[in-house]
């Protein structure tokens, strides 16, 4: 049982910091029905981190980690960017490798774990920013879809390279002035969700993270479909309030605005994914 790696030996417990004891005792393990409604009470799998005050990316992290149906056997792969500052603080096995190779690393991990643990479900989830997913890592992202890797890819789209100081990215909207696009971006936002569908993903969603319960639903669907069918892709709007010049309490307002336009909820479900989702609903897991 992988959950044993969080159990503390009684003889040493009195020396262990409370936050680690809480992970064993108050986090939700072994319960696929866990979800965002645990957040007000349970110990989260995310510890204190260094993202900016009011950053919606941290909200996304909270919802996703609270929604993993099988955290005790989930591996998360990330890439370079703001997100990579959060990963040391996630109470799971996670990987930061290089900028843009996250889906390749995840492929290797997933295939090896299937070979090493044929009787166990080990979910592999990629969490990376838009630069990593759409620009520098597009090759690895799409190729993992072509190969039908059974992994869930989640892109945090803040429409900018935030960690390096606000440069234009492939997902920046046309005309927007950022560093490296001093005359405004010359070409349209890359429709990554559409590329994901065309490249063979079985479950694809575009949305903002303005609704925690909705995020929980799509994360669970994406993971269950990836487990049984093939690649799934979530494209989440997590605006960089710093780079677009908003205040620290403006993130939710910004996301709710964009819910009405370019991040209007969009969901694609392949016929095979439909079956999995129907089955999981019957089992009461969705």
């Amino acid at each position: 049982m992988s959950i044993n790696i969080f159990k503390i030996n009684e003889e040493l417990k009195e020396f262990i910091p409370q936050e680690v004891i809480d992970l064993e005792e108050k986090a939700t393990w072994g319960n696929p029905k866990r979800g965002v409604m645990d957040l007000p009470y349970a110990k989260e799998l995310l510890e204190e981190h260094s993202l900016c005050a009011g950053c919606p990316e941290s909200m996304a992290f909270r919802y996703i980690l609270a929604s993993l149906p099988n955290p005790e056997d989930t591996i998360i792969v990330n890439s370079t960017g703001c997100t990579s500052l959060v990963f040391p603080h996630i109470a799971l096995h996670t990987v930061h490798s290089l900028f843009g190779n996250q889906n390749a690393v995840a492929t290797g991990i997933k295939r090896t774990l299937e070979w090493r643990f044929p009787d166990k479900v080990k979910d592999v989830v990629v969490l990376a920013g838009d630069g990593a997913t759409v620009d520098i890592g597009l090759d690895c992202t799409l190729q993992s879809f072509f190969r039908q890797e059974k992994i869930t890819t989640i892109c945090f789209d803040n429409e900018v390279y935030a960690n390096t100081g606000g440069q234009e990215s492939g997902t920046t909207v046309q005309g927007h002035v950022f560093k490296m696009a001093p005359k405004g971006k010359q070409w349209p936002k890359v429709p990554m969700w559409q590329l994901a569908i065309d490249s063979g993903c079985h479950y694809v969603v575009r949305m903002s993270v303005s609704s925690p319960k909705k995020v929980e639903q799509v994360v669970k669907k994406a993971i269950y479909v990836a487990r049984e069918v093939g690649p799934t892709y979530l494209h989440l709007y997590t605006p960089c309030i710093l780079e677009i010049g908003l205040n620290s309490d403006d993130a939710l307002m910004e996301m709710r605005d964009k819910d009405k336009e370019r991040f209007k909820f969009f969901e694609y479900v392949s016929p095979q994914a439909e079956e999995v989702i129907a089955k999981k609903k019957e089992e009461g897991l969705l």
Partner: protein, 400 residues
């Protein structure tokens, strides 16, 4: 791994034997095959979990053959990746998840993949790369030229260099054993000169194929594998370590030294499993020394035979490992040398640079970088012999 009676067997059903038995004691039979085919034979006896491939001349055939082993059940995971960058990243994933891994590449592929090699080393992944060296420059060449090796010297990977198919076979097996030692646990690059070794047949002695190395045990690795089976549960491989992440710059320094220390710790294991970091050939007392590696060493040996016909005694010091560099072994081997020639298959003379670096103030010998060939040229032993004879002021009788 399963136990059948008294015997342990791997997942392919092969009997698991000690590395010493497989390498030194098991009966061997003579076969006639290419370097590429030899890669397959080594992988077949190595309980390999995962291999990812990408086509590039001249390594493609070896990579196909590993695919055949996957079909036959000798390799757990196998597929073609999207590029060498992708392949090396996929292998990093496989290795982090606890797999014994191997792949092959060549020339531009090595450079395409380059960002991964220091990452492999820093992540302490004992991945094995068989490098079939070829040209990398523009204008493009698919021919043998080992300039690319110089780019790998400071990645934190071990770099070994095989002279022929036999040595390649033994080095691949020894490579897994040494690289996976818990106190070593860094990648190993086994280099051969492309085409000269990969595409020519020679006789090779092979042990039976129903025995294999013990499987890799990731739970003895210096870092936990990424499989949620070993504490700490909260574990990132590998965090940024810099002051803006609220830790000291010292961590990065210490970490980098640790990777280099790991290579140093490989020395006793290399002595045990390769029989030493260097090999000497010719007259041990000679003051004319040819220091080379791989095919260069093979040609130098022929040159020593030619020189013997001319009444000149010389010796070859073949470097079997470049990282770790056989510092003490080389100094000892050239302690009587008056002149050292360094035949190389590249235009820059990276091996000469290495030798000068480690012999500085440790040898009074004159070091001559050359002869050098590149871009696919062969290095006839005659040109090496000619350089030596010219240096000695002797008449060069051969017609070249």
């Amino acid at each position: 791994m399963q136990k059948l009676g008294e015997e342990l067997r791997n997942r392919a059903g092969q009997k698991i034997v000690d590395p010493e038995y497989l390498l030194f004691e098991a009966p061997r039979e003579k076969v006639f095959m290419t370097g590429s085919e030899v890669v397959k034979e080594a992988v077949k006896r190595a309980s390999v979990d995962a291999s990812v491939s990408y086509p590039i001349t001249p390594q493609s055939e070896a990579a196909h053959l590993i695919g055949e082993l996957w079909v036959e059940g000798y390799v757990g995971v196998y597929f073609r990746g999207e590029s060498e960058f992708g392949v090396m990243s996929e292998l990093a994933g496989c290795s982090m998840a606890g797999a014994r891994t191997i792949t092959t590449t060549s020339g531009p592929g090595t450079l395409r993949a380059m960002e991964n090699f220091p990452m492999w080393a820093g992540s302490r992944l004992p991945i094995q790369l068989v490098l079939m060296a070829r040209g990398i420059n523009s204008p493009l060449s698919i021919q043998p030229d080992d300039l690319e090796v110089s780019f790998l010297l400071d990645t934190g990977c071990m770099v070994w260099y095989a002279e022929n198919a036999q040595e390649l076979f033994d080095m691949i097996l020894a490579g897994f054993v040494v690289a996976e030692q818990p106190d070593v646990h860094v990648p190993v690059v086994n280099v051969i000169n492309g085409f000269f070794i990969s595409h020519t047949r020679e006789s090779v002695m092979l042990p039976p194929d129903d025995i294999a190395l013990p499987p890799y045990n990731p739970y003895k690795a210096p870092m936990p594998p990424i499989d949620m089976e070993m504490p700490p549960g909260r574990f990132l491989r590998d965090p940024f370590v810099m002051k803006s992440n609220y830790i000291s710059y010292a961590t990065h320094t210490s970490w980098q030294f640790e990777v280099r220390a790991a290579i140093e710790r490989a020395r006793p294991y290399i002595k045990k499993y390769l029989g030493g970091l260097i090999e000497e050939f010719g007259d041990p007392e000679s003051d004319i020394v040819l220091v080379s590696t791989g095919t260069g060493a093979a040609q130098a040996k022929e040159a020593v035979r030619l020189l013997e016909d001319e009444g000149v005694k010389a010796k070859v010091v073949k470097l079997k490992t470049i990282r770790p560099f056989p510092i003490n072994e080389l100094r000892e081997a050239v302690k009587n040398a008056k002149v050292i020639f360094v035949p190389e298959f590249n235009v820059v003379g990276w091996l000469e640079r290495e030798i000068r670096r480690y012999l500085y103030k440790h040898s009074d010998a004159e070091i001559i970088g050359g002869p050098r060939v590149a871009g696919g040229m062969t290095m006839p032993p005659e040109i090496i012999a000619k350089d030596v004879l010219n240096y000695l002021g002797k008449e060069v009788k051969h017609v070249y």
